[in-house]
Amino acid sequence: MIDFKLSPEQELIRKTVAEFAAEVIAPMAAELDEKQEFSMELTRAIARQGYLGIIVPPEYGGAGACALTYCQVIEEVSKACAAQGVTMSLSNSLVAYPIMTYGSEEIKRRYLTPLASGEKLGCFALTEPNAGSDSSNQETTATDGGDCWIINGSKIFISNGGVADFAVIIASTNRAAKIRGLSAFIVDKGTPGFTIGVKENKLGIRASNTAELVFQNCRIPKGNILAAPGRGFRIAMDTLDGGRVGVGAQACGIARAAYEAAHKYAKERKQFGSALVDFQGIAHKLADMKLDIETTRLLTWKAAWLKDNKKRFAKDAAMAKLYGSEMATRVAHQAIQIHGGYGFIKDYPVERYYRDARILELYEGTSEVQRMVIASYVLGV
């Protein structure tokens, strides 16, 4: 039986998140984007609503919500501000998820509880200068120092990197073993040898923080490892699979914002004596945009449903992420087109949506990587 209806609980969550997003987040979005500012104040307000620990189990202070509910929250917040959507999404799917799935009881208590309350922020560090799409090519090493692990190397393009209180990182404990030699660790901010490098100047999601992490003989406690040594690549891939469902929801959020702005403009703007929306060329654009958003939502919700029902969802998550990210760019592109010249200037929000949408095709696996993932499943290779 297929049911496309959200539960009353999910409806209420969606409604209240939309209310919070419209009242608290949206009014700040343009200014934070312009100043390229990560707002700690706004992040704390988002945390107070419980949005940084959506999937964290209640025993660790989270809401313990399912993936489908998680998608509702991410979509509504991303609609108001894509950058806040990123901060939230990474806190849940890239930081909380690997800790709650692979962390020891002590690790879970130490990191999940403050993460869910917003007392501490986290980040997830996989990408390196020579490990982008080829994420297995990790040059960061973790050597056994007896009573500690000694980390050396650097991570780039790390969302929340400059503001996080701790980082979940992937490093090689055995370079000769390649993929099977990777492991996942948690490094606290302030640990000697762990510094923040350059803060990136970005095209979009400018109100999120993206920075480089540098490790030089950084010694961390022996217990700060997730699962056993050698499980790192599995942890990273599992983490990204879940993250991709969230990217589908981000895509829906950004695209809805673009669609709504375009729809409103098309009703108000008159040319040749008629509202733009009365021209078939514009009406059809809006119809296509709506269709595109709806398609992404179905793919995303299906992937979330599979995850919630403990079924394999990696292929479906990749499809939702791939289709959604390219869709968001398409829809934002059309939103600017409908606005004409006004869409190109910063007095209207659609240029921001266009810039924000672009990251979706790059992070958590580029479109090319998603096609690799999907192909490997559908071709059985």
Binding site: P8, E9, E11, L12, I13, T16, V17, E19, F20, E23, V24, R48, Q49, G50, Y51, I54, P58, A63, G64, A65, V73
Partner: protein
């Protein structure tokens, strides 16, 4: 401290259209919301509970089964318990019959300290149910509250009346109706929403549960009935008197006299 907040689920009047043929509301496809001032009443109750250092906020609503969602939303805001008065016997109630049913429900809740209502509902705009409820219960009331404080076992209420502020002190138990100026209702948190469905007590009470005589509720218990709803025809254009002020005043006075206003 037990605070009771009666709330109403109403059609979102921002979305309401009127059928020009029949003059009735087109309710189809119109979303239902919690009456805006009732959200302020719940906020007032929650703040007061915190000030009192504990207690319980119980939200009550009379309505069809769908009104459950409105009560759940108030639980998500922070109310502790919800009771839905739902029974076919309640249907067709005017404000008196509604207040009567609410009064019987309140009596079932035992000893309470305060009842806070929204000033009025956006669908009926009567502002009667709060005051009527206080009369049924024979407790003091203060309407149009813009501020409410607990002071030594009593409440101090600021009433906004006709451009003035009247300060009243009331012994408890009492009933207060609150204005939207009183506060800013909190937006439910994620955990609040989940707890509202999974943890907090929610009960449905019928007419026999609240021990109310059937002739006092619903259509039977309603001395007033809506005969017709219509949209008043648009008013004609006003007249603007221009030119010489003396002449204009004369014309004005003459017109007012003709209309019997002066």
């Amino acid at each position: 401290m037990l605070i009771i907040v009666p709330i109403k689920q109403v059609p979102d009047t921002n979305d309401v259209r009127i059928d020009p043929e029949t003059g009735t509301l087109i309710r189809e496809g119109v979303p239902s919301i919690v009456n805006p001032e009732d959200r302020h009443a719940v906020e007032m109750a929650l703040v007061l509970k915190d000030q009192a250092g504990g207690g319980k906020v119980v939200v009550v609503s009379m309505g069809p089964p769908q009104a459950e969602i409105a009560l759940r939303e108030m639980l998500a805001m922070g109310a502790d318990e919800a009771i839905l008065l739902s029974d076919r016997a309640f249907a067709g109630a005017d404000t008196l019959a509604t207040a009567c049913a609410l009064a019987h429900a309140v009596r079932q809740l035992g000893q309470y300290d305060l009842i806070i209502c929204g000033r009025q509902a956006i669908d009926g705009d009567t502002a009667q149910v709060g005051p009527q409820l206080a009369e049924f219960l024979q407790i003091p009331q203060a309407t149009y509250a813009q501020d409410l404080r607990l002071e030594g076992g009593k409440i101090r209420v600021e009433r906004a009346v006709e451009g003035e502020v009247q300060v009243l002190e009331l012994p408890l138990p009492a009933l207060v109706t609150c204005l939207k100026e009183a506060n800013k209702p909190r937006i439910p948190t994620l955990k609040g929403c989940i707890g509202a469905f999974r943890e907090k007590p929610f009960q449905v009470w019928n007419a026999s549960r609240i021990k109310v005589p059937l002739e006092q509720i619903g259509l039977k218990g309603s001395p007033t009935q809506v005969r017709r709803t219509f949209t008043p025809p648009p008013r004609g254009q006003g007249i603007v008197l221009t030119g010489d002020p003396q002449q204009a005043v004369q014309t004005l006075v003459q017109t007012l006299r003709e209309k019997g206003i002066m």
